[in-house]
Amino acid sequence: MVIYGVALLAGCMLGGLFLGDLLGVFIGVEANVGGVGLGMILLILLSDRLRKGGRLTPLTEQGVLFWSAIYIPVVVAMAAKQNVLAAVEGGPVAILSGVGAVFLSFLLVPVLTRIAKGPDEGGGP
């Protein structure tokens, strides 16, 4: 049933955020430490297990896939509710950090490609 997928997703999110809060208390910062990332890991692990056990029916999957597909629209809504008016004066920060990050990453592509060749060289198309 579709709700099983939604419930699986919800459980992973709540579990991840719980762990994130605990981690925050543990290391003494007032923050949810990596809760969303932990939730993603939980979902990967659990869905992999369920899939291999043949317990992830297409209907169950739909319950998760809907939320995955609605992700960009949710991000659009998130962008639309920010205090952009107050952020405009910081505009150059956004542009420079975006451009700088891309520039550095482009530079690193040839460097890391060489490293990535490593011992398993020889295969690939």
């Binding site: 919800a10 910062v29 923050a31 629209p73 639309a80």
Partner: protein
Amino acid sequence: MMNPLDVLAEVFVRNGLVTAFAFVGLTVWISYLISGKITRGRIHGSAIAILLGLVLAYLGGLATGGSQGLADIPILAGVGIMGGAMIRDLAIIATAFGVSIDEIKRAGIGAAVSLLAGVLGSFVVGASVALAFGYSDPVSMTTIGAGAATYIVGPVTGTAIGATSDVIALSIAAGLVKSMLVMTATPFVAPFIGLDNPRSALVYGGLMGTTSGVAGGLAATDPKLVPYGAMTATFYTGLGCLLGPSVFFVAIRGMFG
């Protein structure tokens, strides 16, 4: 007699979240129209939609003088719920669903190194720029640094560590600039960085991380490379959401707090 428009507005206000679904759907539709007709698909509809979201938030701020962008307009208050942390986190976590563990193992060590280098590199660049422009508190530095990773990692990190909305907006904008630049610049840069085989595409996906940017950029370079870049890029946002509000925040707080 009551004005039909007032009655309609009342319906919108009473059903805020549903109104938001309709409104955001319309926004996305217009964005894909712009993407196809004006940019000829060069800039992906999703990036234009997020840009449009930021512009609308700006206009909402101008119109109401409030701090919540479009969500301060009563008939669009539901946008605040749809784009709030709860729904957002649910949708973001759902994107991890397609990932299989066997695929992670197959991607290998090169993918892992490029992912770490990509997230860390972008983060350092973003945090440094933030510091240079006077955003010198650890929360803002971390959030803007995370935004330079992707437009998701920024707001997720910002919400987790309590950043203000204007800083979160900047982090979304930084990620958006990155995504759009990756989409458009990749075909031109590709010959100079050896981006013409699966291995370099794998590394490139891990370094850039913006899935829409990587898919768009590789499609314009060589469509055969898209799956390789997308494979590593899939992990990037998850890794960023994991490291941003934890290791990075603690490190920045240790150095600048």
